[in-house]
Every structure is written in structure tokens, then in C-alpha cells.
Symmetry: C2
Subunit: 347 residues, 2 copies
């Protein structure tokens, strides 16, 4: 897919773009860190240490980055309301991670023990709730109810997406449309809201706010498909987890969906049995079959298609300073997919 | 304790009071039912049936009752914003119940299978999140951010209370002050906010709003102590669960706390071992000892003390129509404690 869009058509090469985009946000992320650290005191004394533990500042912070980039004015420290909006989306995201880790029985995330491992599943459920409540409490500090409203609705959608994914686990009755719907809800929705809030709070026209939101949504879908690709084709050392965990836990993502469609019937039925947990998984075999059926290319094309949709959303405003920055994120993601493809070709 | 406040000092006897207070709210509760049923459609199609299952209309609805009573004008159908506020507090409460049942491993609540039993713990975590998100989304429909703000802060407190309780489970290092703090957060906070919202939305003076909130808080503490009393002294048939579940699950409530204090050292150490899960529980023995040490009376006195504090909060406004109704709830609760005492005396 990256051959469709050669790197030289962009002014900045992917790896450089990544550095360029995120380097600009250093003062913003520092302000966000300070703000989040300041929130610990707002939690009840008994749960402050736990909140501190969960308000982990080591993540990628893509959602706060989207808030800052879609409201970009200059490289100076961001306006306080943008920092607050970034904190709201990050806290919602952290809350969902705490709850995700309970469900997945995850012991480690970002090289640290998960909250569920540290405090037990029961406390982790409540801790996620407390983080989410606090996010909404911050959202209610804006002059109007709009931030609260969109963040609450968005969170409900994220949960709905996760519920559908959970209930489908171990089932192979899932279509490509189902997959898109799940990632649209569970991932793209919060990307969308991050861009919406940034554009909205910076006083952009409603047409631009809608365009930025649409951009965020498509970028979110693209990002999730990429993430699902990494689960099969990533570098275990770099991503810090075992490959194929989606497959071995019965979660069907696009690579597996495409493999199911590509395999001859008899082979397909064996894979179905594996996904349903009725026979042992065979990761090496499945990875080899994915190679034979050129699954990587098909998934990469799907990422590229969503990146194109994201670009298209901002096309009428591509000269806007915020658009220039947001569009660089498309280059970053396309570059990451290309890098993954290159490293897999070498193996 | 009920002898301290003989029934004849109240215009309405406890059992009658219960009927009188709640009968008035029939149109209000009907409006709330209709409103909540109407909310199902707001959930994503994939989780509508689950939301419908959780938005159970068979509960006691004490929190909505507090919203309606503290904003009481007349017996006509309540104003739409009060119905909405009642729905918000009830949805938050239902969300906490869904999460509570996961932690307790509860299979049945209100004679129905719990969400966690019906859909699995993973989906139940997310379903609770979705209910809570929707509550906040509704809260954001009010003209100002105040409802969102107080409900979000309140929910964080409820979670903090539950977390502390969870982490203390199986530990006997808990003081009377710890116990009060936990129930203040986990139960009284939402009672407080329900009264606050009702009074506030009805346009009451800020002094009255504060008084109603203080009333709600003390009533909530009283109610939780009563509930903890029922766990030891209730009628299994009527409460629909096994007696002593707090004790057998290592949760220290006031009756157990008082028994620990009353027992001779050697006996006390045995009970500590039981609570910590290191030796089998002996419910019959503990109930007999509670009888010998007159624990019921001491706990009932604590309920009465909080009821008195609730009454005192509204004392300057006791002739107000809303106050008259709210104060009847004190009679209802005092009557329930007296009823429990009478039925235990007969055994």
C-alpha cells in the first residue's frame, strides 16, 4: 500500500514527521502532565495513591495530541481550557484501559503492573469508575454543558464497542462491517471527539469542526486497524507483548477475518475451531498462511483507505495551520505501516 | 432506641407514613418509568437489550423519591427536569449495582439474574460504564453544568467509598470512624445529591438547598446502618438473601464492629480469625453473642442518632411542605428499625 503513496510526495518523510509533529507538542504535553498531577489532590485521600498510579504519564497520548493539534495556534504553552480538554479525553482513555486490563486479565501495561494486578480486579473496576467520574467532573468546568455532553455520549459509544467486541469473542460470526462498527465505536469515537473538542474550543467554524471530527474518526479507524496488524506482524520486543494475542484470545480482527475468507473450506473450519477455543491455536501456521495469502497488503490497504478518507475530510482546508499538522499524522501512520511491511519483508 | 422517640410524637405512625409518602409519588414514579424506558433507544442498538435489562424498574427508588420529595410542589405530574434528575441519580445507582454485583459474584438481585450472571463479568463492567455515561449525558442536558458537576463528583465519592470498603475486606483494622466515612461516601453521598438536586431545581433558597442536602446525607448514613443491621437481624425470606453475608464475606459493618469491641480478648481473636478468612465463620454463635451484648440496641441507637441529625438539618424549615414530606421518611426508617427490633424480640 505504501507503494501507492510514495514517501517523496510528502514534504516530510514519515519518521521525521513523527518527530516533527510530536516535538512541537512538548510544552503542551508538559502542561498536560502538570495538570494531571494537580488532579490527584482532587481524589478522596483514601484513593489518591491509586489514582496517581493510574494517571500514568508514559502513554502515547494520541488523544491529547489530537486536541492540541486540532486547536493549534502557536508553539507557546496551550490555553488552559485546551489542557483541560486534553486531560478529560486522556482520563477517559485511562479509565477504559484500567477496565480493559481487568477483562483481559493483563498483568503488565507499559512495563508496569496493571491496576488490576496491583489492587485487585474489584478495586480496579471502581478505580476506573472514579477516573471516569473525575473526567466528567472536569468536563463540567467548561462554561457550557457541551464538553460534558459530547464526552459522556462518546464514552457510552466506546463502552458499546467494547461490549460488542467482548460478546463476539470466540465467535466467528463476524462480518467486515461488524469489525468496522466495533473499531469505529471503541477507538475512533474518542479520536473523533478529541479533534472535535480541539477545533471547537479554538473557535473554528462549525464546518471546520465537523471536518476535524470526521478526520479524527477516520484516523482512529486507521490507527486501530494498524494496531490489529501489529498484533500479528509487530516486533514483540518493541510492542512489549506476545504476538497473536488477539487470535489466541478468540478476538477476530481484520487480519484473521481476511485469512478466514482466503482459506479453503476445510482449513477454514479448523481455524474456526481454534478461534472458538475448541482446538489449540497454531500461530506459526497462521502467520505463514497470512504470508501466502498476502493478508498484510490487504490490511495495509484498509489502513490506507481510512487514511485517505481522513485526508479527504480536511481537503478543503489543507492549507490551514491546524490541517497541516493533523495531516502530518496521516504521514506518520502511513510511515509506520510501511516500516512494519519492510521489517516483515526482511524476515 | 425507638423508646427514645415514641411513635405518638409523630402525626403519622411509621407503617402508615411509608404508604402515605410513597403513594403520593405514584405519578412521579410512573413518569420516571416512562422516561427511563424512553432512554433505551438512546443506547447503541447492539447494547439496547442489555441496557433494558439493567434499567430495572423494580427497585425501591429511594434516590428518585428524594429528588421528588425535596422539590415537592403538588401531587400533579412532576416537571420534566425533575424526572430527568431522578433518572440521572437512579442510573448512577443502577450502574453502581451492576459493578457491585460483579465484585460480590452475586447471581441474583431483586429476584432476577444479575447482569454479570446474564452477560458475564466483562460485559457487565462495560455495561455499568455505559449506564453511568448515559446518566452523565442526561445530566449535560440541563441548562448549566451544575448537575453534571455535582453528579460526577458524587459518583467519584461513591466509588472511593466502595474502593475503601473493598480494600478493607477481610481486615479487622477498621475503626468506627472508618466505617462512618465509608458509608458516608458509598451511600450517603448519592442520597445527599438527590436532595440537593430536588431542592435546587425547584428554586429553593441556597440555605434550604444546603439543609436538604445535609438532611439527605444523614438519612443516607442512617439508611446504610439500618441496612447493615438487616444483614444480621432481617427476615431472610423478606430481604431475599442469606443472613450474615457481610460477616461471611469479611466485610465489617457496625454490628460486627461493636461485637468485636464487646467480646473478651480470647473470643475476639477467634472472631478476627474468622473475618480474615483463616477459620470458618460461626453465624449462629455470633448472632447469639450479639443478643447477649445487646448489639441491636447499640446499632439502632446509631441509626436514631443519624435520623436525629437529619431532622435537625431541616428543623428551621419544618413547616415547609417539602420538609414535612422529607421528615416523614425519618419516621418510615425509625419505624422499620422498630419493626425489626419487635420481630427479633419475638424469636
Amino acid at each position: 500500500m505504501s507503494s501507492d503513496r510514495p514517501a517523496e510526495t510528502h514534504s516530510v518523510a514519515p519518521s521525521q514527521a513523527f518527530g516533527t509533529v510530536f516535538a512541537r507538542l512538548r510544552p503542551h504535553m508538559a502542561a498536560l502532565d502538570r495538570f494531571l498531577q494537580g488532579q490527584i489532590a482532587a481524589f478522596e485521600p483514601e484513593i489518591r495513591d491509586m489514582a496517581d498510579y493510574c494517571i500514568d504519564t508514559s502513554g502515547k497520548r494520541i488523544r491529547p495530541a489530537l486536541v492540541f493539534l486540532s486547536s493549534w495556534r502557536d508553539a507557546a504553552s496551550p490555553a488552559p481550557d485546551l489542557v483541560k480538554a486534553a486531560a478529560v479525553v486522556e482520563l477517559v482513555h485511562l479509565a477504559t484501559l484500567v477496565h480493559d486490563d481487568i477483562m483481559d486479565g493483563a498483568e503488565v501495561r507499559r512495563s508496569r503492573r496493571t491496576a488490576t494486578r496491583e489492587y485487585g480486579a474489584t478495586a480496579a473496576v471502581l478505580l476506573g469508575d472514579a477516573l471516569f467520574s473525575h473526567a466528567l467532573h472536569l468536563a463540567a468546568e467548561f462554561p457550557t454543558t457541551e464538553v460534558c455532553s459530547v464526552v459522556a455520549a462518546s464514552t457510552r459509544k466506546v463502552c458499546a464497542g467494547e461490549i460488542v467486541q467482548t460478546l463476539r469473542r470466540g465467535s466467528t460470526r463476524i462480518t467486515r462491517e461488524d469489525y468496522w462498527r466495533i473499531i469505529d465505536l471503541k477507538t475512533a469515537e474518542l479520536f473523533r471527539v478529541s479533534c472535535f473538542l480541539g477545533a471547537r474550543l479554538s473557535g473554528a467554524s462549525s464546518a471546520y469542526v465537523d471536518a476535524a471530527a470526521a478526520f479524527g474518526r477516520h484516523l482512529g479507524i486507521a490507527y486501530q486497524i494498524y494496531d490489529d496488524l501489529v498484533d500479528f506482524f509487530g516486533d514483540e520486543q518493541r510492542i512489549g507483548k506476545t504476538l497473536g494475542t488477539d487470535y489466541t484470545s478468540g478476538k477476530i480482527t481484520l487480519p484473521l477475518l481476511l485469512l478466514l475468507a482466503a482459506l479453503p473450506e476445510a482449513e477454514r473450519l479448523v481455524l474456526v475451531e481454534e478461534i472458538c477455543g475448541r482446538s489449540p491455536t497454531q500461530l506459526e501456521l497462521r502467520l505463514r498462511q497470512m504470508g501466502e495469502h498476502r493478508i498484510f497488503g490487504q490490511v495495509a490497504a484498509a489502513v490506507e483507505q481510512e487514511i485517505a478518507a481522513a485526508r479527504a475530510a480536511l481537503a478543503p482546508w489543507q492549507q490551514e495551520p491546524t490541517s497541516v499538522l493533523l495531516l502530518q499524522l496521516c504521514d506518520v501512520l502511513a510511515g509506520q505501516v510501511a516500516g512494519l511491511q519492510a521489517s516483515n519483508a526482511q524476515r
